[in-house]
């Protein structure tokens, strides 16, 4: 049998151990076991923040609020934090809502790790407030910056030699040129102007007569009718005036809508929504493609043609894109004119056939989907349904393409096959054959296989941005 001291000692130790273990298990304060660190922070508004509530970082509890006291009209929070957090001078604190009950929690950020460290016991100086006045001021500042750019452009455009580098400057210069031309014109045509003035005089005289006409069909009667309708217009305007003043006073649904603060907030939301959408639009890879093909001695006439393409490539994801293309096809329309000529005025005639091509604007709209190096395209190919296959080599520098379209054509499907090689930056060369299956040609429609080669440009949106930023406006 053990001594009574031992038994009581064991009992007390076990119980105290239980208390300590339970307390540590449920304690959120890292300083409960020692080894934690304290920081303080001044909040202009500690509404909804309570003593002992949890401090989180990236959603993970990292400490508790030890005390909340008043200091110079601000709330001073003493934060008890985990010892392994390394805070720097740029560390920040933000009060965020948690849950649906209006509870709030304090979110802490350690700050830029490159900055000077903030020793324990120090004060965290940056307090972020998501909806503060500062944030609004920031936006206003941005807008003002934009305006100052506009103003300086305007100033440049209207002073001295003018500014040919900006549209505004060019407009101003154009106006200047216009007025100069006008002056020249008037001085050159003095006589004519005098005649014109005389004519005008005559016209006004006639007009006077017309106005003075007292008959039913005369101007006066009509004027009175018009005056009456003007009265109606006046009434309408009064109503409009009333409505707008109501709106200004915040009366009525529209007035409330316009004058209500929440509308402004909602509008802000909407604007930020639009911004977000534009952001995602920025994420789309957009490229602009332009190329021209030269077709030497082709078609029924044996002429040379130049066919041009302007296309927009919208790529929402890495493996697919939409292609919109405007094609200027010089061989789109074929005209055959047979002229019968009697030989020497006799009954024998010779037929002289004249053929001509007319150009036409055509559209392509395709959806493309990539599988590794192979891309399938389907959709509209120059105003007709079709499919296309692209195969890429050498990190997409070289592309071999075959396109099949105009399926219902009498002379069979139009097959276009060509290779495209991007030789420098945005520049590429193409070479291949158009309508290659149609080697015999069709005299009625004027189609015939032809070879072509050409040059093109292919900008991505990044290239464009680069380009735009280099431009003055």
């Amino acid at each position: 049998m053990k001594s009574i001291e031992f038994k009581v000692g064991l009992f007390v130790l076990v119980c105290v151990g239980i208390v300590v273990a339970m307390s540590l298990q449920i304690s959120k304060d890292p300083n409960a076991i020692g080894g934690g660190q304290y920081y303080d922070v001044l909040l202009p508004n500690a509404n909804g923040v309570f003593k002992n509530s949890t401090i989180r970082m990236a959603g993970i509890p990292v400490g508790t609020i030890k005390t909340i006291t008043l200091e110079n009209g601000n709330a001073r929070l003493l934060l008890s934090l985990r010892p392994d957090l390394k805070l720097t001078k740029s560390a920040s604190v933000e009060v965020k809502p948690s849950g649906i009950l209006g509870d709030k929690f304090v979110e802490i950020k350690t700050g830029n790790p490159g900055d000077e460290p903030l020793p324990p016991g120090g004060r965290i100086l940056i307090v972020k407030d998501t909806a503060s006045f500062d944030a609004v001021l920031d936006k206003v500042g941005q807008i003002a910056d934009d305006f100052s750019v506009v103003a300086s452009n305007l100033k440049k455009a209207t002073t001295g030699e003018g500014d040919p580098n900006t549209p505004l400057g060019r407009i101003v210069m154009n106006v200047e040129d216009l007025t100069a031309d006008l002056r020249d014109f008037t001085s050159e045509n003095k006589n004519r102007l005098t005649n014109t003035v005389t004519s005008l005089e005559r016209i006004t005289k006639n007009l006077d007569q017309f106005i003075g006409d007292e008959t039913d069909d005369g101007f006066k009667r009509n004027w009175q009718k018009m005056a009456k309708s003007l009265g109606k217009v006046d009434k309408i305007l009064t109503n409009v005036d009333e409505i707008t003043s109501k709106v200004n006073d915040g009366k009525g649904t529209l007035g409330k809508l316009i004058n209500d603060e929440t509308t402004v907030e909602e509008l802000n939301h909407a604007i930020s929504g639009v911004n977000r959408m534009l952001d995602t639009a920025n994420k789309f890879q957009i490229s602009v493609d332009y190329h021209s093909e030269f077709m030497p001695a082709s078609g029924a006439t044996g002429e040379s043609f130049v066919k041009s393409y302007v296309g927009l490539n919208i790529q929402p994801g890495p493996d697919r894109y939409y292609l919109l293309q405007i094609v200027d096809d010089p061989k789109a329309e074929f005209q055959r004119t047979d002229t019968l000529t009697s030989v020497g005025g006799g009954p024998n005639t010779t037929t002289r056939t004249q053929v001509a091509y007319h150009n036409q604007i055509k559209f392509s709209a395709q959806f493309a989907k990539s599988f590794y190096d192979l891309t399938l395209r389907a959709g509209l190919f120059e105003n007709s349904a079709g499919v296309g296959f692209d195969y890429h080599f050498f990190n997409k520098k070289l592309r071999i393409t075959s396109e099949f379209f105009k399926f219902g054509r009498a002379e069979g499907v139009d097959i276009r096959a060509y290779a495209r090689y991007k030789f420098y930056s945005v520049f590429y060369a193409v070479a291949g054959g158009d309508d290659i299956a149609n080697t015999r040609g069709n005299d009625l429609t004027g189609t015939r296989a032809s070879a072509f080669f050409g040059l093109g440009l292919d900008f991505t949106s990044d290239d464009m941005k680069l380009l735009m930023s280099k431009l003055p406006f």
Binding site: I4, E5, K7, V8, F11, V12, V14, C15, V16, I18, V19, A21, M22, S23, Q25, I26, S27, K28, A32, N52
Partner: protein, 272 residues
């Protein structure tokens, strides 16, 4: 003279008022006597010779010997609590709230109160019976005649043991009760154990345990003070011992439950 004698009904009313008055006076006097008893006992705590061994013996009696019954009671309290809250919370798919519910209720209320009631029945009654029989067999007189202060030797160690042991016992109660609820919830109701523990973490705080400890200490004072007071002032032999024991259990239980409310109110102000 005749006129000054109140009527029959008047006399009854008078005696009723007198009854209330004497009951009230008796209450105040009793409170005064108990307070005096407590204060002199505490006074003797600080007088040599220090009765350290006696305190240890009493802690062993109140504390060590209650551990088993406390473990048993708390285990089943935790189990039944988890069972009942499960059936309620499962209606609203909030089974994970069993953890905090059991933890908070046990640490703030059930732990100290049930421990108080159990230990009152075991140790408080024993104190009253022991001191009562010592009183009627003149053992207390014998101590006094020997020059040993019975309040120092008998009363103070028991009160100290009550105040010291109760928080420790209620810690065991809270711990074992939560353990029972935890095992039933995780093994029986298949609640994820990490979720269970994290929910407890979210809703409880060390001050909840502190509240329970403080209450338990106060309840320890209540039952040990009443037990020793009743036992110390036992009269009428063996019958007196019986009634002292009985009164101790009844009064302590009532006082524990009533004071729990007031303690909760006060501690809420102080701790939260």
């Amino acid at each position: 003279m005749e006129k000054s004698v109140p009527s029959f009904g008047g006399r009854q009313l008078l005696s009723a008022i007198e009854g209330v008055g004497s009951w009230w006076l008796e209450m105040i006097l009793a409170l005064g006597r108990v307070t005096n008893f407590l204060v002199t006992s505490i006074f003797w705590l600080f007088q040599p010779p220090y009765r350290f061994m006696e305190i240890l013996k009493q802690i062993e009696f109140v504390g060590n010997k209650s551990v088993f019954i406390i473990c048993l009671c708390s285990l089943f309290t935790g189990l039944v609590f988890a069972l009942q809250t499960y059936s309620a919370f499962s209606f609203v798919n909030a089974e994970t709230m069993i953890g905090p519910t059991v933890a908070l209720t046990l640490s703030r209320e059930l732990g100290p109160v049930l421990t108080g009631l159990i230990v009152t029945g075991r140790a408080g009654a024993a104190m009253a019976a022991q001191l009562g029989s010592m009183r009627v067999t003149e053992q207390i007189d014998a101590l006094e005649v020997m020059g040993v202060n019975p309040k120092q030797f008998l009363v103070m160690p028991r009160i100290m043991a009550g105040v010291i042991s109760m928080p420790l016992l209620s810690a065991i109660f809270i711990f074992i009760g939560n353990l029972g609820a935890y095992f039933l919830s995780t093994k029986g109701f298949n609640i994820d154990s990490a979720t269970y523990l994290n929910k407890i973490n979210d809703f409880t705080n060390p001050r909840d345990i502190a509240q329970g400890m403080i209450k338990a200490g106060f309840f320890g004072l209540i039952f040990s003070l009443i037990g020793t007071y009743k036992g110390y002032h036992t009269t009428n032999g063996a019958r007196g011992v019986g009634s002292a024991t009985n009164e101790t259990v009844v009064m302590s239980s009532i006082l524990i439950l009533v004071s729990d409310y007031f303690l909760s109110t006060i501690l809420k102000r102080l701790l939260y």
